[in-house]
């Protein structure tokens, strides 16, 4: 939650600086440059630090912003203020086009792709006739309000820093919302986010466009600050430098971007003015130091300066508890929900020549706890992934309340009221328990990115957080609600995943090894919770290795071995089933 007071204090300090008599004008120029870099870095924080999409190409978007206003104001005489929306629009459209192909790239292909088009665009800027080729465009008119022409660095300073502050607040608002949580979940991989209905490609494109628009704004301001635009500041090296700024400041933090911009711009200035004296060399010595510092930073402090600073603050920001009296509308249960809820009919999954799930059939009825057990590699998790749409099946049908869902995308499955937990916990470790659990309620909220940036989402948001808090209380983690998920024990993290799944308001809960890592007492509490859920009409399908837990809890057990169902029945029958004992203890060889 953005803290108002520090932001206001910061804004007042920044507003006062130009009026301090002793401040040399040169410092103001530096502050202007810091503000311009901070805008781009803020976008990168969202894109790279928060969303996990590394881009070396942000400088090119600055170029779109700068050249748009340069061309329109010089060649067509358009007023600079009119070009602002156009500059942002052009950067945004460029981002949509590049983003549509780029954000689909996976892993390290994405940063390489951004490096490639970053270079391509740089050469394009420097070769196009109407952009003035290598010389660029000069004599761009200054910004002006009435008779106040923002020519000197001291006046455009206000335009730049007002933009920085507004963007910082909007970005913080965005991060602290339903959409923001979806974005923050991206970095942990798409599987968990999609299981709760997040359209990950759309969320990725959104941050990509957002970062580009911020860069475009920086470019627009830059053009009117320098009153000229040429290709050099929009090339690959500038793109690398922006990434450097974000990493230095702390790539996961909005204010880290601003801090990083400050550190790097000032450092660069110092290096440029003193290094030549020290080494009597010619230019670009600062790139050597930069490169070395970047490597050192990655080796010694990969998370950046901002989190290091925050950890040393004497006071910790307090968080507001959500008002749990607010409620979300519950799912409308079908009339026939009393019968078979989930039906798996000859489901099959082949990986190359290996049959992981071999024509497995079973049902889960309403208000029933079914356990799926079997030795390692029996195909249990694969079955889970078929049901939840993470994997596409090679045959058979899976239906919920009679509706076929095989090969439906995970988001669709979540909408039908199927929620899951993961064998390998997939929480966002640097988000609080509350925020993690609230991702579960993603489909039950409606506020979009724009409304959350302008805080029009508060009613919707309060209901989502209330629901999340209620589910956290229900699983018994109310005391940990504001802790970071990564700081909990693995057993507690599994329980947080259950709370997140409950936020979906599911009809069927799929739990992948929920008891692993829990102590005896915790297991008993979990069992009690699951029984209580069942008695409330929910169905549970669980994979679990702790046989004591399973035998006590499950109404019915399905046993898999080598991808094939070898037994199904009540726990007592399963315990004495010779096939099952053989599968588990092995035959005498």
């Amino acid at each position: 939650m953005p803290q108002r007071l520090p932001i206001i204090v910061f804004a007042l300090i920044m507003a006062a600086i130009p009026f301090i008599p002793a401040v040399p004008p040169f410092w103001i120029v530096l502050l202007d440059n810091i503000g311009l870099a901070a805008l781009v870095a803020m976008g990168l924080v969202l894109l790279t630090g928060v969303g996990g999409l590394t881009s070396f190409g942000q400088a090119a978007f600055c170029g779109f912003g700068a050249y748009t206003t340069a061309v329109l104001t010089t060649a067509y005489g358009v007023s600079p203020w009119l070009t602002l929306p156009l500059s942002l629009l052009v950067s945004g459209i460029a981002a949509v086009l590049l983003g549509l192909i780029t954000v689909r790239l996976s892993g390290h292909y994405l940063p390489l792709g951004t490096l490639a088009w970053g270079l391509g665009l740089f050469y394009l800027f420097s070769k196009l006739e109407f952009l003035g080729r290598n010389d660029g465009i000069s004599a761009i008119p200054p910004l002006s309000i009435g008779s106040l022409r923002m020519i000197d660095p001291g006046t455009i300073y206000f335009a730049i820093w007002i933009a920085v502050l507004i963007c910082a607040v909007l970005t913080l608002n965005l991060l602290d919302s339903r959409t923001g949580r979806a974005i923050r979940a991206l970095r942990r991989g798409h599987i968990a986010a999609e299981a709760f209905g997040v359209q990950t490609p759309r969320a990725k494109l959104l941050v990509f466009i957002y970062a580009a628009v911020l860069a475009g704004l920086s470019g627009w301001l830059y053009a009117h600050f320098q009153r000229a635009a040429n290709p050099t500041p929009f090339g690959a090296h500038a793109g690398i430098e922006y990434l450097f700024i974000a990493v230095v400041g702390g790539a996961g933090y909005v204010w880290g971007g601003v801090l990083g911009a400050g550190i790097v711009v000032i450092l660069k200035e110092i290096l440029q003015s003193y290094l030549p004296y020290l080494f009597h060399g010619e230019g670009q010595l600062e790139t050597i130091v930069f490169g070395i510092l970047l490597v050192l930073l990655l080796q010694l402090a990969p998370t950046g300066v901002w989190p290091w600073l925050m950890a040393r603050l004497p006071f910790k920001p307090k968080r507001k508890r959500p008002d749990t009296s607010l409620t979300l509308p519950a799912r409308v249960r079908d009339a026939d929900a009393a019968g078979v809820l989930l039906q798996i009919d000859r489901a099959r999954k082949q990986f190359g020549g290996v049959i992981a799930v071999n024509d497995v059939s079973f049902d889960v009825r309403a208000g029933e706890i079914v356990a799926l057990i079997g030795p390692n590699g029996a195909g249990k998790s694969t079955t889970f992934n078929l049901i939840t749409g993470v994997l596409t099946s090679s045959g058979g049908t899976i239906s919920v309340l009679g509706r076929k869902i095989d090969n439906a995308p995970p988001q669709q499955v979540a909408k039908l009221g199927i929620a899951r937990t993961f064998q390998h916990v997939k929480l966002v470790p640097d988000m609080t328990v509350l925020e993690n659990v609230a991702i579960g309620a993603h489909l039950r909220g409606h506020a979009g990115a724009l409304s959350s940036m302008f805080r029009l989402d508060r009613a919707d948001e309060a209901r989502l957080l209330a629901e999340a808090a209620r589910q956290i209380e229900r699983v018994g983690l109310a005391d940990q609600i504001d802790q970071l998920a990564g700081s909990l024990s693995l057993g507690q993290q599994r329980i947080v995943e259950i709370a997140r799944a409950l936020c979906v308001d599911p009809m069927l809960l799929l739990l992948d090894e929920p008891a692993a890592g829990l102590r005896h007492m915790e297991k008993q509490k979990l069992a009690a919770l699951l029984r209580q859920l069942r008695d409330g009409g929910m169905s549970v399908l669980l994979v679990e290795h702790d046989m004591g837990f399973v035998m006590d809890l499950a109404d019915r057990i399905v046993v898999l071995d080598f991808g094939t169902k070898i037994a199904e029945g009540k726990p007592e029958a399963i315990k004495t089933n010779p096939e099952v004992i053989k599968a588990y203890l092995g035959a005498v060889a």
Partner: protein
């Protein structure tokens, strides 16, 4: 192990943790020369974690000594050089290289002349590998891959071979073959530490056994005694309440 014998591998008070969660708690075990020792236990008991930590893949708190030397601080590669070898759960073969190259790399740390002897020994133990020596490892059947993984580990002439679930995902007839070979290894002077979910097969060839449950050893003793202990079955299938009276 007989009390008078000095242990080849000696682990005492070992803890292994993933972050804050301890997956292995205060475990001590010994493997003597020419001994086959097995650790059995249900899925998720912590067997693989323990083996990986002994090999140096995971950090271990506690004491690990091999042939009298403290190896707790050594890198994996140095433990290999000391004569410790692991056939991991996922076998970790060089899938796009042929059988012969996989085996040759198994002997990376030893002299060429010794490697030639190792080849002869591995091909005698696993004649199947000799037939397939030009085939890519990734195209072998599951059983053959397990043989290759064991063969590759043996190429380095280890003193102790640690096997992580060699029967995993294999048909019963292949499992029998693998276990027969494990028995033969002892005859050639290699000690074996075997992790198995297939408790019956493991107990049949082992000298001694440890039973692991939820990160701790709950039982140990001669394999024959363990095989008849009711608590083992209880530990696997979860009917403690019926079986606790046995011990």
């Amino acid at each position: 192990m007989n009390p008078g014998m000095s242990a080849l591998l000696s682990v005492s008070d070992a803890h292994v943790a993933y972050g804050k969660v301890e997956a292995v708690r205060s475990v001590s075990l010994e493997v003597g020369d020419n001994e086959i020792v097995t650790i059995i236990g249900a899925n998720g008991a912590g067997k693989t974690t323990l083996l990986n930590a002994i090999m140096g893949i995971l950090p271990l708190r506690g004491r690990v000594a091999f042939a009298g030397d403290d190896i707790a601080k050594l890198e994996i590669e140095d433990r290999v050089a000391a004569g410790l070898s692991l056939v991991p759960e996922h076998r970790e073969l060089f899938a796009t290289m042929n059988v012969e190259d996989n085996l040759q790399l198994g002997a990376f740390r030893i002299a060429k002349a010794t490697a030639a002897k190792s080849f002869a020994r591995v091909y005698t133990l696993f004649p199947r590998l000799k037939e397939r020596r030009k085939q890519l490892a990734g195209t072998l059947s599951g059983g053959e891959q397990q043989m290759l993984a064991m063969g590759r580990a043996l190429m380095g002439a280890p003193r102790l071979l640690m096997l992580d679930e060699p029967s995993l995902g294999l048909a019963p007839i292949v499992v029998a073959d693998i276990f027969r070979t494990i028995g033969e290894l002892r005859a050639s002077g290699v000690s074996v530490l075997l992790i198995e979910q297939n408790a019956q097969a493991a107990l049949q060839i082992a000298d001694r056994a440890y039973v692991m449950e939820l990160g701790e050893f709950i039982l140990d003793g001669p394999a024959k005694d363990i095989a008849t202990n009711q608590r083992v079955a209880a530990s696997y299938l979860g009917f403690q309440h019926e079986a606790t009276s046995v011990i």
